[in-house]
């Protein structure tokens, strides 16, 4: 049977054999947790605790600012030793709350079990917001905002992203295998809020065990388990929508424009915790992997754990890494060192050796059009990059640079090693700057 898919895309080696069979392990607490106040798309939170104050696990330490923002919580009980700028995964130093764990690891006392049947849809959304749930696939978009589409854009199809198309990462895979009840409970909760006619969980065919398990568990439920062809970036929102529903999100539009909402399966699990147990989002599963780490693992880590601690827990480094990536190799963030903390969107820590990142020098474009074939958004990466590099902003915008999802497929296939994604990003920044200047 032919599996559903989307146009374009690439087939990088999936490298999931390092960790796909390893059960999730709990990561012990480090000496210090650095919880950044900005971990999500939207306005950063504002600290609402003081230095010297004792905080409980799950206590709010940063309040949300505005609608597109979420509160930030203490990942364990302990004392606030500092509120200062600390190195952040985005490359600069940003405000963070530094907590010294007291070892008790005790939850805040006002958490209780709630029967979801007793809550209204709005109450569910509010609980999700209070818990600081953001997209766990990596983008970290506040979930409560996604769950509040305007009434003129009803959601008919609810998609769950169990695809995990990034090479090396296996955290969602293990979540589906080991914590399927939490995931499915979250699916049901979100279905309750959206009231969609069709609920689908998309899973790539390279996870047959997860597909079989979920199919069995959803045998009587109105949830469709949809195996998808193995191709990067199947897990990207617009590509998942194309494969599952055949609909194309319009240029510059959002999934709600075609009546669809997409959530990651780990986000669904977080929603369950938030709504039923009142627990805020303070931990997640992170795949620590790569040829430069001694013992690759799927770790359950707390937000704020320094990367150095994760490396230690995984047996340390085999050799000095050539590159440290927080996330996957295609769209993850390269880090300057190990002194940054895990944040809510950190789905993986990838350690590559020097030999893994060997790059040939950039050559001229030979118009082979491999990038055009690979682009999942039907763009012309070579043309956009050429205009962007020559600072021709009008043409860059005309060729739809703003529709690029920065998946990296084009840079991956380019035989001339041209930095296509970086050039397109450069172009996007120029287009945005021009728009901002025009408004001034």
């Amino acid at each position: 049977m032919k599996l559903r898919t989307f146009k374009g895309g690439i087939h990088p080696p999936d490298n999931k054999h390092w960790t796909s069979h390893k059960a999730i392990e709990d990561c012990p607490l480090p000496d210090e947790l650095v919880v950044p106040l900005s971990q999500h798309i939207g306005a950063p939170s504002v600290a609402c605790v003081e230095v010297g104050q004792h905080v409980a696990k799950g206590q709010e330490i940063g309040s949300a600012k505005g609608f597109v923002s979420v509160p930030v919580h203490a990942s364990t009980s302990g004392e606030v030793v500092a509120i200062e700028n600390r190195p952040h995964p985005f490359g600069t130093s940003l405000p963070a709350v530094v907590i010294k764990p007291d070892g008790e690891d005790s939850w805040s006392s006002n958490l209780q079990f709630t029967d979801p049947g007793s809550l209204t849809s709005d109450e569910v959304i509010e609980k999700v917001r209070q818990a600081g749930v953001v997209g766990m696939g990596g983008a970290a978009f506040p979930a409560h905002v996604k769950m509040s589409p305007p009434p003129e854009k009803p959601i008919r199809t609810l998609l769950f992203n169990g695809v995990e198309c990034e090479p090396y990462l296996t955290s969602d895979h293990r979540m589906m295998l080991e914590e399927s009840e939490r995931v499915l409970q979250g699916v049901a909760l979100l279905q309750y809020v959206y009231g969609a006619e069709r609920v689908v969980i998309g899973i790539e065919a390279n996870k047959p065990d997860a597909i079989a398990l979920l199919k069995k568990q959803c045998a009587d439920a109105p949830v469709e388990i949809l195996p998808l062809a193995v191709k990067y970036p199947q897990g990207a929102e617009k590509q998942l929508i194309a494969a599952a529903t055949g609909r194309e999100v319009p240029s510059g539009g959002l999934p709600m424009d075609v009546g669809v909402a997409v959530h990651n399966v780990s986000t669904a699990a977080a929603v369950t915790d938030a709504v039923m147990l009142g627990r805020p989002l303070i931990e997640r599963v992170c795949t620590v992997t790569g040829p430069a780490i001694r013992e690759p693992k799927n770790l359950r880590v707390r937000i704020g754990m320094p990367l150095s601690h994760l490396v230690e827990v995984c047996g340390g480094l085999v050799e000095e890494p050539g590159k440290i990536i927080l996330g996957g190799p295609m769209m993850g963030f390269t880090q300057l060192g190990f002194d940054v903390p895990v944040i809510r969107g950190s789905s993986g820590l990838l350690l590559l050796r020097e030999e893994d990142i060997a790059k040939s020098p950039e050559g001229p474009c030979i118009r082979c059009a491999r990038c055009v074939q690979a682009c999942p958004m039907n763009l012309l990466p070579t043309t956009i990059a050429a205009y962007a590099r020559r600072d021709l902003v009008v043409e860059t915008e005309e060729y739809c640079a703003m529709d690029c999802i920065e998946c990296g497929s084009c840079s991956y296939v380019c035989p001339a090693s041209i930095p296509l994604v970086q050039s397109i990003r450069h172009g996007k920044a120029a287009v945005l700057a021009k728009k901002r200047n025009a408004l001034l």
Binding site: P364, C365, T383, A386, Y387, R390
Partner: protein, 193 residues
């Protein structure tokens, strides 16, 4: 009817004024950096060519020949074309200052554009009737516009290429024009003569 079609096709493709007859190279190279400017220039030239044909035809057959002053043909034609171009220039400046700016010096240069004069003279040489003359003019103008727009498109693409330093600018443009001309020779044989 078929003859008119033959004249049209011949003027646009087979004996394209720019690429086969090599007339009007100045605006061809000068105005073809962007497709919009090329289109604008093409339309201006179409207007001038068509009206020029009409007027010169009348002048030839009702003034020059009856009065026996055919030797004044060149001067008279140039005078007519110059006035027409002046008119077009004024209209464009008023109606679309942007186009006026982008065409710049090339607009008045349509006056000395050998393509327009060549068209007028060829019309007389080929002994075309009034209707044939008009079709010929429209065909020539369309062919001119076509060559210009095609070339502009090519040049826009050339902007993005890593051209070797010694070839940059006019050099590679001329090479490309030559290749385009060769391509149009593929139409030879479509029409006899």
């Amino acid at each position: 009817m078929a003859d008119l079609l033959v004249i049209l096709v011949s003027a646009i493709f087979v004996n394209n004024f720019v690429l086969a007859r090599f007339l009007g190279i100045c605006p061809f190279l000068g105005v073809s950096k962007k497709v919009e400017t090329a289109l604008g220039m093409g339309m201006a030239v179409t207007f001038v060519m068509t009206v020029a044909t009409v007027v010169t035809w009348f002048v030839q057959y009702f003034i020059l020949i009856p009065f026996g002053i055919e030797y004044l043909q060149t001067i008279a034609f140039i005078l007519i074309i110059a006035s027409l171009v002046q008119l077009v220039e004024m209209v464009i400046q008023k109606v679309s200052p942007v186009l006026y700016q982008s065409l710049g010096i090339f607009l008045p240069l349509i006056t000395t554009n050998c393509a327009v004069l060549g068209l007028a003279v060829l019309n007389i040489q080929k002994d075309y009737t009034f209707l044939e003359g008009i079709i010929f003019a429209i065909g020539a103008a369309l062919g001119f516009t076509l060559a210009l727009v095609l070339f502009a498109g090519l040049r826009e693409r050339l902007e993005l290429c890593a051209v070797p330093k010694s070839f940059r600018g006019t050099a590679i443009a001329l090479v490309t024009a030559g290749l385009l001309s060769l391509a149009f020779m593929g139409f030879a044989g479509l029409v006899k003569g």
